[in-house]
Symmetry: D2
Subunit: 335 residues, 4 copies
């Protein structure tokens, strides 16, 4: 039974805490949030004690590992502290919005052999994972094109957007990771276009985009297409299509059930798409905890490494540069 200290008790942290509490091989042994009420709410559900500080969490003998789900700009500090305290870490993405900070943190923890897993949860989705497997077991032959569609049901709060680092760093970053996961090869060149179509006024205020297309190529010529929108009225659109020399594997959207209603002027699905990520990636969040427990307890390889966390950010930076300079960017320009 792995004792996990949960740092950050907002929406994501609370969800993780509940998953850990329900997990057969893990339990929550400490919770902390700068918002004491949030920590108490999670404590009430999990039975874990509220700690007065992150340090107290790291110091607790009941805490075998920590989950970092605090505000993004605290991730790297807490990660360094956790490693210094000898605790394995499961850290929500992104590690940091600054590649410099990410690399400084990497240097600070370079000596450790403690597992650090980054929270790219979509790798654990059964459908996306099945695409990964179809690519890697030869079912579709050699991969030629990889198309990832991610559209959110609606805009997050403006306060979030102001700190998110922009759509490429906060939203497309999932797709950069998914692309690397499935490709088995690093993207070499990146091209991005962004538009302000769904909420142009807000986007102008934030100097951000709400509609994104990214094209990446690898040295071997594989083509990757990522398409994002901040707002899809029909729900949370999450698809992955891998096209190869022997076939195609497509992870389609999911619904809570499949009741089809037919009438004189329609034939349609009665259930909307699973909405939002907590529902859509429910099994994936569970599997993410499974993988972390398995790594800490059994030494199985880290499922999503610190390097993976860094590389997704590198691609986001490359895409941002492409968008700003209106040209193709070589990933090697970034780092």
């Amino acid at each position: 039974m792995l004792g996990i200290g949960v740092l950050g008790c907002g929406r994501i942290g609370a969800m993780h805490a509940a998953n850990i509490a329900a997990h057969a091989k893990a339990r929550v042994t400490a919770v902390y949030d700068i918002n004491h009420a949030a920590a108490q709410a999670v404590s009430a559900i999990t039975g874990a004690p509220v700690m007065a500080s992150a340090s107290e969490v790291f110091a607790s003998p009941d805490v075998d590992a920590v989950l970092i789900a605090t505000a993004t700009d605290t991730h790297a500090d807490l990660l360094e502290q956790a490693i210094a305290a000898g605790k394995p870490v499961l850290c929500e993405k992104p590690i940091d919005l600054s590649l410099t900070r990410v690399d400084r943190c990497a240097a600070a923890i370079a000596h450790t052999s403690l597992p650090v897993q980054i929270g790219f949860v979509r790798r654990f989705d059964p459908g996306h994972k099945a695409v990964f497997e179809a690519v890697h077991n030869g079912s579709i032959g050699k991969l030629h094109q990889l198309i990832i569609t991610s559209r959110d049901p609606g805009f997050p709060p403006q306060a979030y957007l102001e700190k998110s680092g922009g759509i490429l760093r906060d939203m497309t970053i999932h797709d950069f990771d998914m692309a690397r996961y499935i490709l088995g090869e690093e993207p070499a060149r990146v091209f991005a276009v962004g538009s302000r179509l769904a909420a142009p006024t807000l986007m102008n205020v934030l100097d951000d985009e709400d509609t994104i297309t990214v094209v990446m190529t690898t040295h071997s010529g594989k083509q990757v297409i990522l398409m994002n929108s901040r707002e899809a009225t029909y729900g949370y659109d999450q698809r992955v299509e891998a096209f190869g020399s022997l076939g195609m594997a497509v992870s389609e959207n999911r619904r809570s059930h499949h009741m089809v209603l037919s009438g004189s002027s329609f034939t349609g699905q009665a259930a909307p798409l699973l909405n939002f990520f907590i529902e859509r990636y429910r099994e994936a969040f569970d599997a993410e905890i499974d993988a972390f427990v398995d790594t800490v307890e059994n030494g199985s390889p880290v499922a999503v490494s610190y390097h993976d966390g860094r590389q997704a950010l590198v691609l986001a930076e490359a895409a941002l540069k492409s968008l700003q300079e209106g040209r193709i960017v070589d990933v090697s320009e970034i780092g």
Copy 2:
């Protein structure tokens, strides 16, 4: 927090216990099974104490209500004892294989106002429920035909079959209940045919059928068709189709994901049907507990009544008589 005592810690009981343990408004406060090891296993997961007898469960002050998931032939006795002890009951189906016993139990508990809910879990399935709603909110107009397909992925153990009361009482009974749930009207006449096609030798030994079709009609002329098989190689096939004057509502099968693989000789779903009832009706089992807690704590109407439990058995008896006598049976012949 409703304290529930779990009687019976076999596959179904253990699943219910885990669901209750994970439920926000309920917890397991006692477990009992004639097989002590089974009770201990459930105790280990839920933290609830193992009791030495059912009586001890009924007597516990921590037990606000009980869930009966023991062998079928003990249901009625335990139900009577629970009511006598003042405990609300959630009882797995069927109440009993004998209609006489069911009616004797009904008489024994006639005086009580304590809630008794019968475990026809499929009523809580989101897809089937959506069909129910389409029928009752007028989306498909007046119901004309109702078609229910239930095929199990494979035969249960022979030991189970020997005591199950036959396919009509143990398997079709779910469909009799589903039919009544959606119809909003009692079937009046029943016609059944049975065949021994999947495992004829075993069926001859048991004098049972493995393939069933039942047709029922109501006084208003609605037609109901139930189709069953003990063995479907492609998985657990669970569909409901309601056809009416303004349209059709179909609850289709479900899969764990929707990865579609296309190659030179195939285009297919990579994931099989959700298999078996614990996976397929996962949300339904949760919702069943929700409904029970809501009834006990808030006095909301019983979702599946004792009468519902009885009437499904009446239809099973009528179908059995039809099958044995090779004729249409009027439900009033049964009781």
Copy 3:
């Protein structure tokens, strides 16, 4: 180039004539209808001369074979005359509404070796045919249950209904044939229920049913379920499901295209079901002519025999008797 004389230039006859005219190996060489204007319209499209009588068609040296698409009560007479004149026949279903007349016609043409093909067009539908093949090539193992759904988009004109012989003889008859085609075995027992739900007043006037369920069993225990309605608001519903020991084959409905529209409150097919039989079974009508030409020109076996035409009628009679007498009818009771 097979010269075909077309008898009957109503909706079906005109459609057949156009198909024959467009066929690479056949042409229309004579047309006849008691309604001269109808014959002229078909003549204008096909370029074939209008004949003054059926006899004139049979006598024409340009007529190598005839297609009978006249009113049902003239089929048997014309069929006998065509055979007497030495012409192969493709005769629309049903041969006649009276089994006695069918058998008298059979006797009258018993001596001939000329091909007579009956117009059960659905056997030629690519999807239904694929189910047939899945059953007969072993893909689904041994057949256990066969479920056929046929619902018309709306009622035919009352004038048609008054002469059609009732729903079992005019509509279900297609399903009786489809069942025999796929089963590869004769149904032995028939049970039918009928209801007056879609247009009860009209049904009472006609003493007919608008909603039908038929269950049939074979000597080996295979179960067949046929479901009909005269009116489905969502269109022409044509499905066949074969369930067997190794799997299931389902011929689903078809649409003119697959544009799926998703919005905030719907996800649905933009195109309705192909409507009505001329569109839905377009390829099948072509393939039916192919088969007939192939039989006449190359001596390949008759695709749908006179016996097939008779047996579908026998099953309709059995179902009608079941419905009238409220009991299971043994097919041997009919003939």
Copy 4:
């Protein structure tokens, strides 16, 4: 009855001739091909006389209009001659591989009011057209992203590839036209990547690509993504997805039927994708002729104009430049 002279009796010309012959309002009145045998074969099917030269076709009083389906490098010459002879023209795409030649031809026919329709047949596909309508009738609100997938089942003959002008001019050109059709706005900037993945050796010989991704943006910020492959083992993949402020419209692939086969290790479509363009776009080829007849006979607007033919080529040129120079190309750079 419009008399059409068919120039070019290869695969496409012969198909068009058969469609015209079967058309209610048109007929083939002359055929010509430099390959006399090809012309004779089409003559045999349509009954139209074989002409000794294109000039003879233009001179025939029975020829009201002409269809040009000859080799691409003869299109512009024949088009000019047809207009000079006073004949309306339906010309297969592309007008010419050289934009200079296209513009010279435009100048040569600038004076005429005779209709000239270019053969971008996909605009007439029922599914793609339904996407167009969803975009233009407001069903999906304002268009944000348009994604077009076109993958051929296999490589054309090398002889064809040597003369085709490369994948962007011969294959992607359909998608450039589809994009313009649906957008209702001209693309302003083009970015393309090409890879040699399916047949690298052949592609190196031809200095061509077999795998293409093109991204285009309009002045208003709409994003267009085109994806091509010369070889998809699973068949002819033809999809269009329009994503907008109020929803999404997707034209999915089509099959000849929908028989779904389920077994212990698969659930799949038994029919492959409709293959190849003659089958997939059968209704579209018919509707293209309809539109042309309607324009010539009733003066309805030209469905696909000469300008449309030119602009698709402009986008192909822009994409080629992008691919060659590794940069975003402004469409105004081309012409």
